[in-house]
């Protein structure tokens, strides 16, 4: 196997070491699409026999067990346990708000590491992974890949992303069945975009897919400094407000209510929703998410 040209960032390397052996099982048995590691929801024509059932009109004729027909003069269909794969698409928010705190790029670093860790867990389960990111310089897309070295590709692509701009997600135009969509971001974009994302979530779930929304929140957002400051919006610098300790309580209430409402909207459409703080070690967060969902 050729050595990947890209050298992993030490931080990414440590993360991959930490999640080694972690397999991300499908939350629900998928229908049979492409054979893979997940037990399929359906019994298929594979060699691993599970049961027989009488032939029904509409069944494929080639699936009739002819030998059994010859012995019993009855037509049966041979059923076997099928295995399938769950292609996983990571859709990351690389808008300017994810590049905060400016000094540490804490939110983006956390989102990047969680995506890489989950991709590693998905690849360990034999699932192909894809990536879409919209950053300040344009779109970055990695089609579904299941080959060795895919993780390095994902790591390299994510490392080259610089958060900026106001557009958050590059969503797939048409929801594909049996897919797993992982959306990682702070969901601070336009309400129309969030609504579109939630609607897409519903369509994917209806088609048998899974959606996982990971809300990345900086510690400084949950507990801002109490001293008086003039603030401006990361994505709209003309929007300014002054802030001090007297407004802290009301800020926390508003922010908390918004987070609760966001989680409720995603879950109502069948998605899984979890919150990750920047202070949480990425490997711990990845293990928590995979363990919870599996």
């Amino acid at each position: 196997m050729a050595e990947p040209a890209h050298r992993l960032d030490p931080e990414d390397g440590r993360l991959l070491d930490a999640v080694r052996g972690l397999r991300w099982q499908a939350a629900r048995p998928p229908r049979r699409t492409v054979s893979g590691a997940h037990v399929s929801r359906y019994l298929g024509p594979s060699a691993e026999l599970n049961e027989y059932r009488p032939y029904r009109q509409g069944d494929e004729v080639r699936r009739i067990d002819w030998k059994l027909l010859a012995r019993t003069d009855r037509a049966y269909i041979r059923l076997a346990q099928d295995y399938s794969r769950t292609p996983t698409l990571f859709c990351l928010d690389a808008s300017a708000s994810m590049g905060w705190p400016v000094a540490t790029q804490g939110k983006w670093r956390q989102a990047r590491q969680i995506a890489l860790g989950l991709a590693a867990a998905a690849r360990a389960a034999g699932d192909p992974v894809g990536l879409t990111v919209k950053d300040s310089s344009g779109d970055i897309t990695l089609p579904m890949e299941g080959r060795p070295g895919t993780l390095h590709t994902v790591a390299r692509l994510l490392q080259g992303v610089t958060p900026g701009g106001s557009a958050a997600y590059r969503l797939p135009h048409t929801p594909r069945a049996q897919h797993r969509l992982v959306v990682i971001g702070d969901f601070l974009g336009e309400e129309a975009e969030i609504a579109r994302l939630i609607a897409l979530t519903g369509e994917i779930v209806e088609r048998g897919g899974e959606v996982l929304a990971i809300h990345v929140v900086a510690q400084e957002e949950l507990a801002p400094e109490r001293r008086a400051r003039a603030l401006f919006d990361v994505e709209d610098p003309s929007y300014r407000r002054n802030f001090d300790a007297t407004g802290l309580g009301e800020y926390r209430n508003r922010f908390g209510a918004w987070r609760a409402d966001l989680a409720r909207r995603f879950r109502r459409r069948g998605a899984d929703f979890t919150l990750v703080q920047t202070s949480e070690p990425p490997a711990v967060a990845v293990r928590r998410i995979v363990g919870w969902l599996s």
Partner: protein
Amino acid sequence: MSLLYPWFFWASCGVAAGVAALHLISWELREPVPFPTLRFVPEREVIAAELNFRLSDVKLLLLRLAIVLLLGLALAQPFWVAPDSEARVVLVDVSAAVARDDAWRERVDEAAAGADTVIAYAEAPRRIEADALDAAFAAGDSAPLALAGNLSAALAAAIREGELLKNQAETVSLTILSPFPLAGFDAATNRLRTLWPGPLETLRVPAAEAADMTEVLGATSLTLHWDGAAGPSGESPWQLRAAPDRAEGMLTPVATLIAPFERKWQLADPDAPGLRVIANWLDGAPAAVERIEDGVRRTFLGFAISDEDNVALRPSFERFHDWLDDPARVHSGVTPVDDMELARLLQSDPESAEEVDPEETEIRITPAAPWVLLLAIVLALAEPALRRVLADRRELTGDSP
């Protein structure tokens, strides 16, 4: 460099410290910082400013400090004097109370040597040249002599001379040669002494003997003529004032009388020969004169004592009256005070100094002060220009103030 009014300079230093503090301490709006969840921040009236301790506009600060300090310096009246230099004022008592012998002359010569100003005083002080003492004293001998030198008037003259010498030397010292008769002191002496800012030295010289005094006065008997009355020759030195007024007191060689007197007489001829003023009203006008006629000392008093007031009962008037009645008592007036009394009478009393009305002090301007003031004004005119230049530059570079 010395300062005539150093408090102005110290005050300007205080103002300069305030200016520096204003440049050092400032409330500055905090630089807006990005915040992603700004939409949840409640809209409130919050002053996002902070107290900064950072030196701003150093050039402007230096210019303003220079203006303030130069203004203070100009008001403080700077002048240049040689370090440790000393100017000397010598007061020489030349009244009849002094035994004017050779020893006295030697002491006067010794004290006057190197003095910047020599003032001879009897009734009225007069400045004399140190190298022409003989001529000056000879002229004084021919004039009618006071019984005791008026030390207060002499001190006032010395203070005036001292103010002039203040610009030329770091310290101005005062030397007084006198037998220091009690009659030489009055109520103002101690207060005037406190106005003398430098060191004061007293040199006691021998007092005149009683016989000498009588000889000087040239009289053996006395006649009093009250309230403008004429002598036996029918001639009175007084004439009625056009408008009688009131005097608040009288200065005599032996006492100071503070009491209301009706003043209706004035001298007909102040320069009449042989006439000698022996008492003055507080405003300096003659209140009593005397003339020696045929060995008789005739005293003409320009006032009367009424029975209604109690002036006659006062010890000061009694002393004055005794002195008028009996010339022999003149000796009690010119009896020198002892050393302890002299120290008490000439002690520097700071409390008395504070009572001096500032309006009475003369504001003096040293030669350097106008130039320093001019420089301060020029800098003050340049300050707005510098401020504008700095503002333009800041605008170009986009720096915050």
